[in-house]
């Protein structure tokens, strides 16, 4: 937790000299006394002080004696000045006695809950009561101030008010870091308590962090409550599998079961925060797992042995025209194995990792501007930028740690954020973003209009995966990168996406940014894989594969980790799966296993080691948290099938070997650029939206407390669109397409005209599944009458 406090942005540090506990220290001007003492190895007790939060001096635990000031002063809020003489509890009776007195007051109303409190054993209050408290309290008699306990401040966070020491860490976190200032200290004196206005739930995607930074057991998690004790837990450093932010996490395991997940401290990436999805959504690792291989016989899946299933899969794939599709859950090593399996064992370039709206333009963009272009833009760059331009990318929902880092920069270094999107979602407002509203499909025009005003400035463009729905947008971003000084980065939504680009899981791309059409690149990859040659003609992307399967040009699929309802043409997709031989490598029963001919169970994230590549291109390696699992990785299963097909790799698909192999290919000097694409204007009212952070995603299943913190699904339209279509704010709206309809409450807000914004996979709002409509396609709107809860 120790940080070198340096609020000034100057490289020329102004040093001052002061004395702490008789030792002369030279520290940068502005360094707080408590930090200077830490550097000397003197631990001043504290509750409210937190290096990432503004000083508040609320708990008064860190009192020290300062020469020239008659009374003890809080060291967490006072910066050292030239010549200051400070004495902490180590050398000053006054300071030690003051701290003991404060501790005695803090414990006055603190209940004797330690045996049943989740914090017991890892509690700063317990620890500091021992190190800096009186051995006995002088308040022996009398009743403590009691509150009803616990109360929910949202469905995931429980509050025991009588345990609170009013340090304001949680409220400051909510206000400063998360930007959800609805958590506040209410009442006064002994009645002071943390709460929310009108007892409404504390709405935040980052609320779980308040549990972690609470220095007492006042905030606890509904999921973890009473589950275990710190000494029961074995902690593992892990990487979050949910999004492309790449958070370091700590997974705590008791007797082979995950008890909880915490944010780990990684200053370059997630600092010490993570989002609630990363913190709480781990039940998927145990819920409804497929445990044995399954083979379809007479239309029904039946249990099979591994050798039988592998043989069955290999026979089905032999001498067929096949395609390989993967989803976003896979670590880099596994996607690399899929990539190799397709090229060598199936002799095809029909590979695609994008199970969503995808375009040729996007594949082109990823091939030329993202692959093998690691660490071009980093979190630190975001902090140092002058302007960050968000294009079809709403970080709070789509990459929450990017949101926190941008918010930090907006607060501390006066970063300006400009967003080009279809609706002004809450997350943008927390960044004070200037929002340029555009109808879906017209983002490129807005971007081109903006470019001249950005010239010469330190600009970073972050473009999200939704950009694939807007023709011409990604090529506009690429050309902007060429014509101006702006740097750009692609921020995908899923954890495995960037790794899949590096592993060459696109029809025109080979691992390490090498190109399928380049013979020298092909030869290099072929040599690494120990084969004579690789298929030279570029393959089909997912949309084309589905079409090819329907027309009979494709006979088999190998699919890992995807859901057919993530695309709007799911009925075609299902028909394609029905028509072809499908090998599904899956953890859970899914919409693909329903139509698969052979289902091969694979291990979840906790059972295997690997590497995720986050949006920066930073490799985030993790080890297996559960060592006793016998589950196979996707790579190992593919290796077994390949062996049956007569292809053998020396590395046996061990994650470390695959990683080494992929790394050796990553030296591409690919400087080619993509070709420009024109934007297309679609008439009518168009669907817009995004996947909310907490929604019905398949890795979030089995977490009712988390699901209840999701934002309510509403349809948003602009005032002009509402009046043009006879819609009323607060009423229901019926959204129709040619195949279906869905009904949502209407919110008239800042949205581009002729656009209806909806969440893409939330309760009541699944346009891809219900309407078979994707972003940028036209829908009809109709008033649905009054909305009654």
């Amino acid at each position: 937790m120790t940080v070198t406090a340096n609020p000034s942005q100057n490289n020329q540090l102004e040093l001052i000299t002061a004395t702490v506990d008789g030792v002369e220290v030279r520290v940068p001007k502005g360094t707080l006394i408590i930090r200077a003492a830490e550097q000397l190895g003197v631990q001043i007790p504290r509750f409210c002080d937190h290096p990432s939060l503004e000083p508040v001096a609320a708990c008064r635990m860190c009192l020290v004696e300062i020469d020239g000031i008659p009374k003890p002063q809080p060291s967490c809020a006072i910066p050292l000045t030239e010549g200051m003489v400070v004495r902490t509890q180590q050398s000053s009776e006054v300071a030690a006695k003051a701290q003991e007195g404060v501790m005695e007051f803090l414990l006055l109303n603190h209940p004797l809950d330690c045996p049943v409190c989740d914090k017991g054993g890892e509690c700063p209050l317990q620890n500091q009561a021992m190190t800096n408290g009186r051995p006995y309290s002088r308040f022996e008699e009398g009743t403590k101030r009691l509150f009803e306990k616990p109360i929910n401040i949202n469905s995931e966070i429980l509050l025991d008010r009588e345990r609170c020491v009013s340090c304001a860490r949680c409220t400051r976190f909510a206000d400063e870091i998360a930007g959800d200032p609805t958590l506040e200290l209410l009442e006064r004196g002994a009645q002071q308590q943390v709460g929310t206005a009108d007892d409404r739930p504390f709405e935040s995607y980052f609320g779980g962090n308040t549990i972690q930074i609470c220095p007492v057991g006042a905030l606890t998690s509904a999921t973890y409550r009473f589950r275990s004790r710190p000494f029961d837990l074995i902690s593992h450093n892990t990487i979050c599998e949910h999004c492309a932010s790449g958070c370091s996490t700590r997974t705590d395991i008791r007797r082979g079961k995950i008890m909880r997940r915490l944010a780990a401290n990684d200053p370059e990436v997630n600092e010490e925060w993570n989002c609630d999805k990363g913190r709480f959504a781990f039940t998927h690792t145990t819920l409804d797992r497929i445990t044995t291989p399954l083979i379809r016989e007479n239309g029904e899946l039946r249990t099979a042995s591994w050798p039988e299933a592998i043989e069955f899969a290999a026979n089905g794939l032999k001498d067929k025209q096949s395609g390989v599709l993967t989803g976003g859950r896979l670590p880099q090593e596994d996607v690399y194995a899929y990539s190799r399996f397709a090229r060598v064992a199936l002799n095809t370039n029909n590979v695609d990792f994008r199970n969503r709206y995808a375009s040729k333009e996007e594949a082109d963009f990823l091939t030329h501007h993202v692959a093998a272009n690691s660490m071009h833009v980093t979190y630190r760059d975001l902090e140092n930028a002058e302007i960050v331009l968000l294009v079809a990318f709403e970080p709070e929902n789509e990459s929450p740690i990017v949101q926190l880092r941008l918010r930090k920069a907006v607060r501390k270094s006066k970063l300006k954020v400009i967003a080009i999107d279809t609706a002004a979602i809450e997350g943008y407002k927390k960044l004070n973003a200037e929002i340029i509203l555009t109808k879906p499909g017209l983002e490129a025009d807005a971007l081109n209009k903006l470019v001249p005003s950005l010239n010469g400035k330190n600009v970073i463009v972050l473009v999200g995966e939704r950009a694939a729905t807007s023709s011409g947008l990604l090529s506009a971003v690429a050309s902007m990168g060429k014509s101006t000084s702006a740097k750009f980065a692609w921020v995908p939504r899923r954890a495995g996406d960037r790794g899949a680009v590096e592993a060459g899981l696109l029809p025109t791309l080979l691992p390490g940014g090498k190109l399928v059409k380049d013979a020298a690149d092909r030869a290099e990859v072929a040599a690494e894989w120990g084969v004579a040659q690789l298929p030279g003609q570029s393959g089909l992307d997912q949309v084309e594969m589905v079409k090819a399967a329907l027309s009979g040009d494709l006979d088999a699929f190998v699919i890992g980790g995807l859901d057919v309802y993530d695309v709007s043409y799911h009925s075609d997709f299902i028909a394609a799966l029905e028509k072809t031989f499908v090998v599904s490598l899956e953890q859970h029963y899914s919409s693909v296993t329903e139509h698969a001919d052979v289902v091969l169970p694979v291990g979840v994230i906790t059972e295997r080691s690997g590497t995720f590549v986050n949006w920066e291109g930073r490799e985030r390696s993790f080890a297996a948290a559960m060592h006793q699992s016998l589950a196979l990785t996707d790579a190992r299963v593919l290796h077994l099938i390949a062996e049956k097909l007569g292809v053998k790799f020396a590395d046996q698909a061990k994650p470390s070997e695959l990683h080494k192999s992929l790394t050796s290919l990553k030296d591409s000097s690919n400087t080619s650029t993509m070709s420009a694409v024109a934007s297309i204007k679609v008439p009518g009212i168009l669907l817009a939206g995004l996947r909310q952070l907490i929604d019905n995603g398949s890795l979030q299943q089995g977490e009712p407390h988390l699901a209840a913190t999701a934002r309510e699904a509403v349809a948003r339209v602009s005032a002009a669109t509402a009046s043009a279509n006879g819609l009323v704010d607060g009423n229901l709206v019926i959204i129709k397409s040619s195949t279906g309809q869905m009904v949502l409450p209407l919110l008239v807000s800042e949205v581009a005209d002729e656009t209806v914004w909806v969440p893409l996979n939330s309760d009541g709002s699944t346009p891809l599944k219900n309407l078979s409509v994707s972003i940028g396609e036209s829908v009809q709107l109709q008033d649905g009458g009054r909305y009654v809860l």
Binding site: P115, V116, G120, F226, R227, R229
Partner: protein
């Protein structure tokens, strides 16, 4: 004597013993002759309040204190439908492994509610390892007259604090009725 052959001298000792009172203990038939001292550290017991609710709150402090790692506890929430102890939390799983336990009594000192105490029972031998892992039902104190089998509510109008300060004297008719219904 000194001149007698060695063998005769040896048998003399044996012969002389025949006239002494035997000190053979007829254990286990007559095990009550030498009862253990009152503070002997024997098998553990999980105590109950006078109305039958369990004293254990599942805090795991016993497991934490145990130098032999012989105790395993999992806590769980009491709910309005099923209450096993006063307060919020009870011990859902409670195991003591007597293959590991050294009967040192540190767990007893650690217990914040006096739920765990030791009896004088010392017959902790069995013919399988599994049988020597005592589960909660093996350790719980028997229901005495006036107690009702949990789960049942606390005494009407009482809070957990009244239980901790020893205000409960026995099961109320409502508690008995609830217990019998279940």
């Amino acid at each position: 004597m000194a001149r007698l052959p060695q063998a005769v001298r040896g048998f003399w000792l044996t012969f002389s013993m025949m006239f002494r009172k035997p000190i053979t203990e007829q254990y286990p038939e007559e095990k009550h002759i030498y009862p253990p001292k009152p503070r002997f550290h024997g098998r553990h017991q999980l105590n109950r309040y006078a109305d039958g609710l369990e004293k254990c709150i599942g805090c795991e402090l016993c497991a934490w204190a145990c130098p032999a790692d012989a105790i395993y506890v999992e806590g769980a929430d009491n709910s309005d439908e099923a209450r096993f102890s006063p307060g919020e939390r009870y011990g859902k799983i409670y195991q003591i492994n007597y293959l590991r336990c050294i009967l040192c009594g540190l767990c007893i000192e650690a217990c914040p509610t006096r739920a765990l105490t030791m009896t004088n029972e010392y017959e902790l031998a069995d013919d399988s390892r599994a049988k020597l892992i005592y589960e909660k039902q093996d350790l719980l104190a028997p229901l005495l007259p006036g107690m009702a089998q949990p789960p049942h509510q606390m005494v009407d109008g009482f809070s957990d604090r009244n239980y901790y300060s020893g205000k409960v004297t026995g099961a109320t008719p409502a508690q008995i009725a609830e217990s019998e219904q279940a």
